[in-house]
Symmetry: C2
């Protein structure tokens, strides 16, 4: 994929009002930015909105392509920079199951560190596994360590 120069924008104003129809997360992001002395820009709002609409795993340039096909002017650099901010704000999290590219998913409000990956359909579902915390803490304690987090990916197929 090799698209850097931004194509002309079909709609004149890239900043219109329905970009934040999903209020809560935008508010979270806004607050996080303000806390760092950073600004809530149309581009950042759009990017988060696009992520929310996708509602699934995404890659940086999927996001870029989708935004462009939706008629938004955004640069690759801004997408990457915003992804980093969203990660810092714990609104999205990096997944890492493909060696070529980083994948991300919404993470806010859930500790989505267990993924059920369907190898036949490609679907990825974030699931809750409370038992894992106990298991992980036990394993660490047995070695004199303190668990700070974990990540589990389960690969499955329908039967």
């Amino acid at each position: 994929m090799k698209l850097d120069p931004i194509p002309a924008n079909p709609s004149d104003d890239p900043f219109d009002d329905d970009f934040d129809i999903i209020e809560p997360l935008c508010a979270v992001f806004r607050r996080a930015l303000k806390g760092e002395g950073l600004k809530y820009t149309p581009e950042r709002a759009r990017i988060l909105d696009t992520i929310i609409r996708r509602d699934g795993m995404f890659e940086a340039d999927q996001l870029l392509e989708q935004m462009r096909s939706d008629g938004f002017r955004v640069s690759k650099a801004t997408v990457y920079r915003t992804i980093k901010l969203l990660e810092d704000a714990s609104i999205i999290q990096r997944v890492l199951f493909d060696r070529d590219q980083s994948h991300f998913q919404l993470a806010y409000g859930k500790a989505a560190n267990t993924l059920l990956v369907r190898m036949d359909t490609g679907e990825v579902e974030a699931i809750e596994v409370p038992e894992l915390i106990a298991l992980r803490d036990k394993l660490c304690a047995a070695r004199g360590l303190k668990a700070e987090g974990h990540r589990l990916q389960i690969f499955a197929v329908g039967e």
Copy 2:
């Protein structure tokens, strides 16, 4: 890291006889290569041997550096090409917990899919967690799926 040109070789003959002191895995690799009509070369033997001696997680250029400091002439390209062959032969497996680089580990004979990553020291230990299989199978069964594999990373610090 930026070292491509191979430095002059301290020992004249890069191919001496103790490169395959650990017989079994070399034999496995040799057989796998023969099966594909490929050749068992000194470089390939050395690379596998170096991996076995390390006995832990490794990255492509760690391998390269170690081989060079051991006095072997090998190129980056050959290391990458051989890693791919070893992966195909299921002798090593790719780990993916760092977004910058692929990590690998010996895979032959064990299913090392749980990693304990020490965030303070950077150490990574592959551990066995039999309970995980049952847990994972249960989660899949509850959704009408069949588990094919899993991968767990636990992040911890000393206390």
